[in-house]
Symmetry: C2
């Protein structure tokens, strides 16, 4: 019993890795050519849009990257007028970054555009299949966060 469960879990894992990695790659490609912003810049902008103002250190941790990488990206976004950097009033060392209205606008537009391809693909499925994916999506999220 154990060995059979193990075997099928391995096979399931292989299948899932393949399909998830592949779909992710596809989704990533969908917003490559986006408004002149790089992948990184969009990712950071999206993060800020979702979470509100953040310090450089927090952003680094959330993006799983070292602080200098964030500094560079923030600098680029700042020059484009998409984020704004200000000193933390309580702690002069911290630099707080927040998205500007224009930045937020771009993120939302990009998200719509990115989803378009997937929405179309999903439209080709049966309602039952979509329902299945909806339930699976919750599980995937749980796996990713665990």
């Amino acid at each position: 019993m154990t060995s059979q469960t193990e075997t099928s879990s391995t096979e399931l894992a292989q299948g899932m890795r393949r399909s998830v990695m592949r779909l992710a790659r596809r989704l990533r490609q969908m917003h490559e050519e986006s408004l002149g912003l790089t992948q990184n810049q969009l990712s950071l902008l999206g993060l800020l849009t979702g979470s509100g103002p953040r310090s450089v250190g927090e952003l680094a941790e959330l993006e799983k990257v070292q602080p200098p990488a964030i500094t560079r990206t923030v600098k680029a976004l700042e020059q484009l007028g998409l984020v704004q950097r200000s000193a933390d009033p309580d702690d002069g060392r911290r630099a707080v970054v927040e998205v500007t209205p224009r930045g937020r606008e771009i993120v939302l537009a990009d998200r719509r555009r990115r989803d378009l391809w997937l929405v179309e693909r999903l439209g080709e499925l049966t309602p039952a299949e979509r329902e299945l994916l909806g339930r699976a999506s919750v599980l995937l999220q749980r796996l990713a966060d665990s």
Copy 2:
């Protein structure tokens, strides 16, 4: 009706994008620290292991990258003794690349290691949930390939 279907498809797409991208990221991190090989090198090696000998141009197309990038990665893998490059006997311009036994070994070991984390996570789910993911995985694959 249409508008309701459309709305839920949009929501489904958003949820799926989030969960798929996140899980993919997590899976990718799992084999970062792998034997001194970079992400790229492992990816190319995996491709070659799965598909047999390929020309540089084919590899570039499969990896969605320009030929010079392949040339560089192949050169590195060749120096490590993980791939072998030879001239196509029918067309002296083409360079055919194939994985060596040692390269193949590394790919398989890496795959096992990468799957380990996911297998463990899947083990925490109920059988019904695993079954659901198995069916969803097939759909994801189809979406990615369409």
